[in-house]
Amino acid sequence: MATVDTPVEARRPRPLRQRLLGTDTLLPYWLLLPSVLYLVLFFVIPLSQAIVVAFQDPDTGAWTLKNFSDLLRWDYKFKPALKWTFLLAVTIVPLQLVTALLVALLVNTRFRGSQLFLYICAIPLGLSDLAAGLIWYGIFADRGFLNSLLYALGLIERPVTILSYTQIDWLFGAVVVAEHWRATAIVLVVLVAGLQMISKDYLESAEVLGANRWQRLWYVILPLLRPSLQAALIIRTIFAFEIFAVVIALAGDFLPVLAERAYTWYFFRQNLQFASVYAVIILAISLIFTVLYLVFLRVREEERR
């Protein structure tokens, strides 16, 4: 570019802020830096290490798929873990989505006290998953709240054993209930925020045009809520495949799941390779689902408000 006619402005000394931070176009990147550093330090580096370990022969250091085939051969709990993780995910996520949507629609009617109701619903967000698991253990245990309640009501004569390795379906159910209680609020919060962005003019227009409640939900609310649904689904599905502490608290390793296998191989068997293979598998599944959501729930540029 020719610099014959430098504008007066460019010759002035730049303000301190600009000299320190570069031009305004650079500013966003500076602001992103802390979170990028954090992600690199605690996610990207350990993750790449795990990937490297998973695909390397521990003795020779050569690239190989041996760890994967070994795992398939030796870990008889791999297939159950995969099965239960998937079953939990496909049960919990849709259930959470439906619950959160119903509650979000309810909150969005702005009834008296709806804000307070929302805050109460969001309380579990503040609990760690282990704490949530222990709470539900306290409910479902032989001498837990549920049995005490049923006994006090005279519905049972003796404590009923809910959490037992002999009834894996019950363990599954207990995990679903606990996880549903613990992690639905994040979906709820995302959906409530999304609903509040939808101008009521759209709904009233549809109403004047003769759309009933269901038609308004189906043809107006849900399509306009798509970006929020997408965000909520991605967050929830990724976390669903990482399910761990709630399962440990309620079912130990009688209900094997992928993250629990990684933990077991790493801490109890000191097998870094197998633990890394599990980490890579969880990563791959999460990636696949994220891409699927991004493709299928995509909002095209021209459809935006």
Partner: protein, 365 residues
Amino acid sequence: MAEIRLENVWKVFGKVVAVRDVTLTIEDGEFLVLLGPSGCGKTTTLRCIAGLERVDGGRVFIGDRDVTELPPGKRDIGMVFQSYAVFPHMRVFDNIAFGLKMKRVPRAEIRRRVQNVAEMLGIEELLKRYPAQLSGGQRQRVAVARAIVLEPQVLLMDEPLSNLDALIRLQVRAELKRLHKQIGSTTVYVTHDQVEALSLGDRIAVMKDGEIVQVDDPTTVYEHPADVFVGGFIGNPPMNFLPGELVAPKKDGFLVLKAAGHEIPLPETLSRALKEHVGRPVTVGIRAEHIEVLPKPEGDALPAQVLVVEPLGSHLLLTLDVGGQTLKVMVDTDLQVEPNREVGLRFDPAKLRFMDRETGKALLP
């Protein structure tokens, strides 16, 4: 087609009375403009007709039906929102077809009817586009098409031109007028723009603080405002108002108006009509274009001093001082005037509007 009847309609939000005891009949096929300043309750009145607000008192009729308890979808109305509310996730075709789809109209008929209104509004080229790919004017047309494709008995529009550029606004205004002639739906049109109201309405209902203060055809509203508020709200510049007094001289029985330090004799008919108000303090209103300006004070003309001269292109707007009162006067551009000049004013007393000084209400219909 159908008439709309509001009977003693009330709408209250907490402490705010948005609509206060409104009674109004809008005739079959009429184009009625609801005009008033921002916050006076126009939108709320429209929403009461639409059924988007439940009335707190009174009844709403469309045709012979009492629709007070009916939801909007069952009232046989079309509505154009101020924001247009064109669905962003649907193509123009699906936007227009929405109401027909909800009513389970067969697909072939939907296509035919959408095509028809699209042609009527000149948007048949846009049917495949998304709203984000349209200009404001085009989006407004889609909103109108979506409302009229159902051939509603009643068409409600809330400030449909307020989001458009000044140039497009003029064009769309004329189109709306033509469209109304073509489809003939009883139309209620909300605006705060008095020029729009005068140009579009068969009749204008002027609102203030939730009440309707005058319903008349545009000429009457302009020439014979029901009170000081209407005279001041409609017209650019607004009507001139001067404090005055009606007195009866002893001799001929004709009345005299004392205003701005002058005595103006009133003609016979006016004198007779105003007889009972003699001695009462009044506010006199006169339109800027109803005052004739003479280059010199002469004969019976009122002397006045020019304060400001504003050329408006087609006219000159003068600000004058008459006996300590300020007047706005519209004159032809060929008049030679400059500030500080003494001029003479003449006007037809029949063009004067007499209001009660206390209540602001017109003394004569």
